[in-house]
Amino acid sequence: MNVISVFLQKAITQGIPLLFGANGEILTEKSGNLNLGIPGLMYMGGVAGLIGAFLYEANVANPIPFVGMLISVICCLLCSALGALIYSVLTITLRANQNVTGLALTTFGMGFGNFFGGSLSRLAGGVGQLSTATTASAFRAKIPFLTDIPVVGELLFGYGWLTYFCLIITFALSFFLFKTRVGLNLRAVGESAATADAAGINVNRYKYIATIVGGMMAGLGGLYFVMEYTGGTWVNNGFGDRGWLAIALVIFARWRPLNAIWGSFLFGGLYILYLYIPGLTRDMQEIFKSLPYLVTIVVLVITSLRKKREDQPPASLGLPYFRESRG
């Protein structure tokens, strides 16, 4: 395999968790909720999946990879849904400030991930290095033969099932938002909650469901990282700032899931570009790592300059809704 093909493959691998997170944030933001807790939710989803798999593998003599996988997916979804529920109750029902609540959730979620990820083996009675290799193997399984196709085999088929699932989710989300009634209603909620309310849409229910499902999508991104990328183990802060990159990706994609696909590959590529540029000193590598953020700022500035209505964030993003507020 040549360098470019390897680079592309790695870029996609890096991009997938971002795409999961961005999908979750797009869905959430379309309901008018700016959930800055997404990075925290990704940690929570990842660690919950790991705990599920770990407990399963630790308590069963001959763990079956597929069962472990199922358990970890369910744990991941439950935990990230719970995190998103906290955010929803606080911002939707109790009308707390979204920015602050989101940041609090990220603080909580990252702490939650690092605490349980870091203390898991100790809490379980000191089993030494934490590993859920069996379960991870199910996440990492690839389709046989297809990867042997020359040139494009690895590039197209060299990933675990979550990668393809992520792409399916993205297409499904795009279809949902722009081609279904419920998607239309959701967009209306995010643009103008009062209008949606007057049209008979249950604003709070839409916000709750979008935020929670969005949180679950983001959680899968964390799970992908823990299971497929690192192979079923936990490194404190290993996930790093990718959660914020996912939020950046939403802006970059201008709230359209299909744009987020190639955007995520681009971001993934930029994230690891420094490894593939020959002759970079270590210090220059660090500069290169800031590229995705720089690109996002450029996109942010350009969209604010162009002022095209369709490219702007949902109009009521960040605002709480109270029907009886006057005027």
């Binding site: 700016l34 800055l36 906290i86 109750v89 606080l90 029902t93 109790l94 009308r95 707390a96 400030n97 920015n99 602050v100 609540t101 940041l103 609090a104 959730l105 990220t106 603080t107 909580f108 979620g109 990252m110 702490g111 939650f112 991930g113 690092n114 605490f115 870091g118 203390s119 100790r122 809490l123 404190n236 700032d241 914020w244 939020i247 950046a248 802006i251 000193t281 270590r282 210090d283 220059m284 660090e286 500069i287 790592k289 800031s290 953020y293 720089l294 996002t296 700022i297 942010l300 500035v301 604010s304 300059l305 964030p313 960040g318 109270f322 009886e324 507020s325």
Partner: protein, 367 residues
Amino acid sequence: MSAAVKEPLFHVVKRDGTSFGRSLLIRLAAIVLALIVCAVIIVLLTGMNPLSVYAALWNGAVGTSRRMWITFRDAAILLCIGFAVMPAFRMRFWNTGAEGQVLMGAAATAAMMIYGKALPSWLLYALCPLAGIAAGIIWGVIPAFFKAYWNTNETLFTLMLNYIATQLVAFCIIFWENPPGSNSVGLINSKGKIGWLPNLDRYGCVLPILIVLALAVLLYAYMRYTKQGYEVSVVGESENTAHYAGINVKRVIIRTMALCGAVAGIAGYLLASGVSHTISTGLVGGRGFTAIIVAWLGKLNPFSMMIVALGLVFMQKGSVEIAGQFNLNENASEIITGILLFFILGCEFFINYRLEFRKHEKEAVKA
């Protein structure tokens, strides 16, 4: 028809205003609830006796004079970073970039300490904070400029700048690393402590605390009594009104963010020159975000913010201590902080609104 004759169980009514005592009571209740939940979690994880949890928290935060001073110092630094977002928030400019602004301030201070060794010490003492302030201002003004002229979303812009700052600092660290290959800078000027913030006491805590307290008074006076502070409030309330009053909104946005950046720069200076005496990408450690919460919960009032900052740092220090005792990792403190925040954020609702429950079944009415 779905609209049957059934009144909803309750509906929400906005309060006209809540007395100070009542809102204090609601907040206290929220904190007590949060403490109970935290204790339950700690008990579940460690099997400790609930009462000894609180004792351990207390002991961990202020149990020895050293711990107490460090708790106060860290609260002061968190408060200082909170001050770096407060004026912007008054202006409804959602500055999520304090993390980066502080880091840039710290990096500039470290650069001064590294390159200014040969300077006379009084000059270096003056240049270190100035360098930090300048770097903070630059990092704060960039997004303000774009916001002022093109209305570029500042929440996301400042958020992204945090990570660019992190990478810039990562670059500097490799550039300055000591010893080579260690990927860290080590204590700067450990011999002679050149450029270090002088210690007034054994733990070097008093001076940073005094500086932050002075800042609190200055900022309070600035926001409350100066013409510029007044302009900030008007711009925050309504840009339309600001235009009407002849206020140059662009200038106010940029000027206020310069102020925020400067305060962040001071926080960075305190961290680099007064606390850690080194520079690392994790130096601020998420405090830029916690500070936003401090500012918000403190209602953007410097003195209420003090209480919030102290409370948060107290809980963090205490829970780190408990985690340490049980060989658990220190991220426990973030969980505790998170839970506390959830409760306090949630309780605001009960201050601003009240629930009206269904009145007893009304007598049947003939149509």
